[in-house]
């Protein structure tokens, strides 16, 4: 049925395919099955209830008017923030200077920190009584703030944490992209006496665009499902005001112990990511071909 070469190829991909099947496909199928059933974690009756859970999720005002807007806002601002900071650092690191390797290594440290650990650290940094932020503010004569008690300051801290964690990832990839750019156009621009800003605007940025777009697509999809830092920093509070999609699904499945409804929420989120991913990949394709 298969030639020797085909059998060899199948053998090579078998372990990866098996892992994918066991740890990706099977859980998704089980989750999808649970989403159509009365499946409480403490008493899984597993009776078929059709689309009831889906209707409950997509008609939930909290999901529509708090969770989804929060999730998209977080996705846009977090990706944009980390991209800008990562690009700035990549540009700085792309110039030779003394201690460049050391700085580069130090800048990568956040990548090695577990998000939960980072979130705990940030929560204490912004603690209104013991946090260093308020100590500094009070030292310069400003009033310390209860950062996690108001929606937008809490949301800002979540963003800051995420940007801090992901900036090195952007830096690393964009730096690799910068170092692979041909030197000739930059040398020509230097001979013409072009300003640094114009070099960046009309040479660096357009030539780096394919790398930027790939980074943005991957990170945007990942940002959509952010859970750990939000759960640790605010738990979605105060009063659900910083709740993102993944927390919404988690609370339903594991706090309310309603695995059926939590799975339905996860599937709805998965479909949203799927649509978003398709749109973004088309965008990448168009940019790459441009």
């Amino acid at each position: 049925m298969f030639g020797e070469q085909q059998r060899f190829v199948l053998l090579l991909i078998a372990p990866a395919a098996l892992l994918l099947l066991l740890f990706q496909v099977v859980p998704i199928v089980i989750g999808a099955n649970a989403s159509f059933r009365d499946w409480a974690l403490y008493n899984p009756k597993k009776t078929w209830i059709g689309f009831d859970h889906y209707v409950a999720v997509i008609s939930d005002p909290a999901f529509l008017y708090v969770v989804l807007p929060n999730t998209f806002l977080f996705m846009v601002l977090s990706v944009a923030g980390a991209l800008v900071a990562g690009l700035a650092l990549a540009l700085l690191l792309n110039r030779p200077f003394r201690g460049q390797k050391l700085v580069q290594t130090i800048l990568l440290v956040p990548l090695m920190v577990a998000p939960v650990v980072a979130a705990i650290m940030i929560r204490w940094i912004f603690n209104d009584q013991f946090g260093i932020v308020n100590v500094v503010l009070e030292a310069i004569g400003l009033e310390g703030q209860p950062w996690l008690v108001q929606r937008w300051s809490a949301f800002g801290i979540i963003l800051l944490t995420d940007i801090w964690l992901w900036t090195p990832w952007f830096t690393l990839l964009l730096l690799a992209g910068l170092q692979s750019l041909p030197k000739e156009p930059f040398e020509a621009a230097a001979i013409d006496g072009t300003t640094t800003w114009r070099v960046f605007r009309f040479l660096t940025l357009p030539m780096l665009r394919p790398v930027i777009v790939v980074c943005v697509v991957i990170r945007a999809i990942d940002a959509f499902r952010t859970f750990d830092i939000v759960w640790t920093l605010t738990g979605g509070g105060p009063g659900r005001s910083t709740e993102l999609f993944s927390l919404y699904a988690y609370v339903l499945a594991f706090l309310n112990l309603d695995l059926g409804r939590g799975s339905a929420a996860a599937i709805v989120g998965g479909l949203i990511i799927l649509v978003l991913g398709v749109v973004m990949y088309r965008l990448v394709d168009r940019i790459a071909k441009a």
């Binding site: 403490y42 509070g237 009063g239």
Partner: protein, 428 residues
């Protein structure tokens, strides 16, 4: 022939080794728990028993943040991952059908009848499913170096007055601090609510699910008592400034840290933190802490005590011989007077065996107070509700009151009215 005999002997020895290995495997009990002073102290008793009886105690710590979901999944999947697990009144009914009945643990008869009531821990057949670990409830802690016993606030209003006085005199940065965020409602919201004839659901203080269902799982969010409770905390934080502005986001650890740093004169915390509050290595206020009854709101005159237990349970799905061994261990723990006295001294949590209470109270003023104010009090409240949807109800409650207390004062009634149907719906 001699060679064959040697082989047979070797085979017999190997078989014996294998058999004794299997026996050794049975002589092991795996404990699923959450590291905390009281659980650590209780497990120390297991270990002492294990050492005497040749049973290896394997401790498997789990994070509090994911404990219920993780353990529920373990219980419903019929795994034999744990032989004994930490159990709590909050999820007494959620797990009742998944746990081994413990009526045959003889020493259970010495446990607190109130705390082990069937409505909390009994399964559908009326069998008990818990062995108590210790009494876990909160009391009103105050700084004994700043406040004399006769000055301790007896009302919520006095709490404000006394706090402001201490702040004005420069003796304390804050009057009160306590956890407020979700899953820490007990340390500000709940006690102040119960102390003003109020509760999460109606009728107030009712825990019988049939009666709650008859009442339509009605939330008390729109009752004037709840508005008064939220307004009290709004004023305490924003108007009187006796509590930190960040308090609505505090968990118990953050609140305890402020109290132990000496920055607040009063707090409400579980008695099991008594040991930590008085540990000079961890607390700046060691030796300067005392406890009292909860201050009451304007609508309640009668003092009350809030009394619950933490316990241990045995998953139904584990093999019979391990259930038997686990019950032997739990029975021995219930009878371990020395271990339980040590546990009380280390933590401040009254031990599970009620017959030890008078003796400890004779020697310890804190236990005497707990006995008078809570354990022997005829007016008690239960700290949770006992139906599986309780976590969802609690979350809906906490989300609503948090929104109300962090918003504008004039919006409190509106926010509570918006949250009322969400609380009721979560219960159904």
């Amino acid at each position: 022939m001699q060679g064959l005999a040697r082989w047979l002997m070797a085979a017999a020895a190997a078989l014996m080794a294998a058999t004794s290995g299997a026996t050794a495997q049975v002589k092991e009990l795996r404990i699923g728990y959450q590291p905390s002073p009281i659980q650590d102290a209780s497990i120390a008793m297991f270990e002492a028993w294990g050492a005497k009886n040749g049973v290896k105690i394997v401790k498997v710590p789990n994070s509090y943040g994911v404990y219920v979901e993780k353990m529920t999944a373990s219980l419903t999947s019929n795994s034999d991952q744990y032989d004994v697990i930490w159990h709590n009144d909050d999820w007494g009914q959620t797990w009742a059908h998944l746990l081994e009945p413990t009526d045959d643990v003889e020493a259970n008869k010495y446990g607190s009848k109130w705390s082990m009531a069937p409505l909390v821990f009994a399964n559908a057949q009326g069998q008990n499913t818990v062995v108590p670990m210790g009494q876990t409830f909160s009391v009103f802690f105050y700084r004994s170096d700043l406040v004399k016993p006769e000055e301790v606030p007896k009302t919520l209003e006095e709490l404000v007055t006394m706090s402001k006085k201490l702040q004005a005199d420069g003796k304390a940065k804050f009057g009160y601090v306590g956890g407020m965020s979700m899953n820490h409602s007990w340390f500000s919201w709940f006690w102040s609510m119960w102390g003003n004839n109020c509760d999460v659901l109606m009728p107030f203080y009712e825990r019988d699910n049939k009666k709650l269902a008859e009442g339509g799982w009605k939330s008390s969010m729109t009752d004037p008592c709840m508005q008064k409770t939220v307004e009290y905390w709004w004023d305490a934080i924003n108007t009187h400034k006796i509590a930190p502005r960040g308090m609505p986001a505090y968990d118990r650890n953050e609140a305890n840290a402020i109290f132990m740093a000496g920055d607040a004169a009063f707090t409400v915390a579980d008695t099991l933190w008594w040991g930590q509050f008085n540990d000079p290595n961890k607390s700046k206020i060691a030796g300067k802490v005392a406890a009292a009854r909860f201050p009451l709101g304007p609508d309640r005159k009668k003092p009350f005590g809030w009394d619950d237990i933490w316990g241990w349970a045995i998953p139904k799905s584990i093999p019979e011989e391990r259930k038997k061994l686990a019950k032997q261990m739990l029975n021995a723990m219930m009878l371990d007077e020395e271990g339980q006295t040590k546990m009380f001294k280390a933590t401040g949590a009254p031990p599970p065996n009620t017959t030890f209470w008078p003796k400890i109270a004779e020697q310890d003023a804190f236990m005497k107070l707990l006995k008078e104010a809570v354990l022997d009090s005829p007016d008690k409240v239960r700290g949770a509700y006992y139906f599986p949807q309780w976590p969802a109800v609690h979350k809906a409650f906490n989300d609503t009151v948090t929104r109300a207390v962090t918003g504008r004062r004039e919006d409190i009634a509106r926010v509570l009215a918006e949250g009322a149907p969400l609380v009721s719906k979560a219960a159904q």
